[in-house]
């Protein structure tokens, strides 16, 4: 674990964030913090408000009330500066299939204003780091789902983000591809001290990978802590799934999930083939 200095600002500071869409309250007074160098998981079923929370934090959505700070910078008033600190991988597989892997990463190198002399080296390094250097000149439409995900990580890493935001990074991936994505994300944390905020609804993953978790349901954070703390709070033999059931009730998966969510998941699944 990287050493965290007292003076270093928190990677993420969400203070009482609320967001409603028409008459639906998507996020309801959500507060949490991510410490520098930490892997923090937002856990919850579809429609719990995880993605909306993420979109507020990465400056894509202004909150109705509350504050979001990334390394001390305000996500609403210091948008551009915040964006330069973040690498963001949305839930959908969103690399451009009509470009090659190299071009996809180069596009982001340019959009993050990497100095021209560094660009090629940085792109090569990023592709290498995510293990897709061999496929760099192939059109992304020929990539497998796991490769697209790793390519997206390569894109998100190009600006050396201090915070990596991953929205359901392993959704729809087979177990092998999933493990591979995780290994690379964790090695990144280890080597570069990158803080990681992710959402997932895979309990096991959250249990194994996250330093701390927040359980989200109906737009609210129901509980938070380390996986061990959360489990201990329920009982000696409890699993994270038990914890979740305790806070969210029995209807775990089918409850939420707006049409939009479901459509996005289906689309991702379809692109994975």
């Amino acid at each position: 674990m990287p050493v965290t200095e007292e003076s270093e600002p928190l990677a993420v500071e969400a203070i009482d964030i609320s967001k409603r869409f028409k008459d639906v309250v998507a996020v309801d007074r959500v507060s949490f913090e991510v410490r520098p160098g930490e892997v923090f998981g937002l856990l919850g079923p579809n429609g719990a408000g995880k993605t909306t929370t993420i979109r507020v934090l990465v400056t894509l959505l202004p909150p109705d009330s509350g504050q979001a700070r990334i390394f001390g910078l305000d996500a609403v008033s210091q948008t551009m500066a915040v964006r330069r600190l973040i690498g963001y991988v949305p839930q959908q597989l969103s690399a451009d299939g009509s470009l090659t892997g190299w071009e996809n990463v180069m596009l982001f190198a340019r959009l993050y204003d990497l100095p021209r002399r560094n660009r090629k080296a940085a792109v090569a390094e990023s592709l290498e780091l995510m293990g897709i250097a061999d496929a760099r000149d192939r059109l992304v439409s020929t990539y497998s789902g796991g490769m697209v995900r790793r390519l997206e990580l390569a894109q998100a890493l190009i600006n050396r983000p201090r915070l990596l935001v991953l929205d359901e990074p392993t959704i729809g991936l087979d177990p092998i591809a999933r493990t591979e994505v995780w290994e690379r994300v964790l090695s990144l944390r280890q080597e570069a001290g990158t803080s990681i905020l992710l959402t997932t609804h895979y309990m096991e993953e959250a249990d194994q990978l996250c330093d701390r978790l927040a359980l989200m349901h109906h737009g609210r954070i129901q509980a938070s802590g380390t996986p061990a703390e959360l489990k201990a709070s329920i009982g000696a033999e409890a699993t994270l799934e038990d914890v979740f059931r305790h806070y969210a009730g029995e209807h775990l998966v089918d409850e939420g999930g707006s049409f939009k969510d479901v459509r996005a998941v289906r689309r991702t699944a379809r692109r994975l083939g």
Binding site: M80, L85, Y88, Q92, S98, E103, A122, E183
Partner: protein
Amino acid sequence: MYGQFAVPRAGWADPGRAAAWWRLLVSRILTFCWVEVAKIRHDRTELYTRAIQPALWLVIFGETFSALHAIPSGGRPYLDFMAPGVIAQSALFVAIFYGIQIIWERDAGILTKLLATPTPAAALIAGKAFGASVRSLLQASVVVVLSALLGVHMPLNPLNYAVAIVVIVLGAAFFSTLSLTIAGIVLNRDRLMGIGQAITMPLFFASNALYPISVMPWWLQTLSTINPLRYEIDALRGLLIGTPSNLPEDFAVLVVACVLGITTSSRLLRRLTQ
């Protein structure tokens, strides 16, 4: 395990390195032009299939009406007169459907990711608009070559050609922002296709592409004064064929149209990602 970072982390993700807005704008425009060139390099079919329609206009409509001598063309062969119109039309067709790409990128989640980069909405739209004009320009070049092959007399003046490129780029940038604006309103590929189909021909016919403004009924003349295509064609005709044209006015209209288009569609961009 997977290799170390060769360059220390702090160097690049420096939030203090805020670029001036115009540098950001130029940088994004160049970036999206680069993307468009890469895409065309990977797949050129569209370039060829889209050359068929202008070829038909020139060969069938152009040759027939040349023979009829029905349209006053300022003492020039009719084919010469209409060639700049068809060149502008081919660029227009590419641009007016460009919004489809942004809707596709929205559905695929690409747009969300682009918007999370340090790129203000206006810079993204400007980038996309001028990216579209790269495609339009290539399409127009195909039609220029085609016209030359059909015997259209275009004096080879490099300066005029350079200015004509700027005119086509501005025209295409405007029409693609029109397309992006419609995309931002309808948010749906099919509806955008429908509206695109519905407005291309009125734009074309309410311009001086096929006939001079003077032969139009008064109401169409009035309508054509607010049609940027009219000014694009007027400029191209002056530059490529050498007929009298009002270049300063043409440029002023096109530049103002571009600025308006970029402002309007960047306001609507947020709708596409919410």
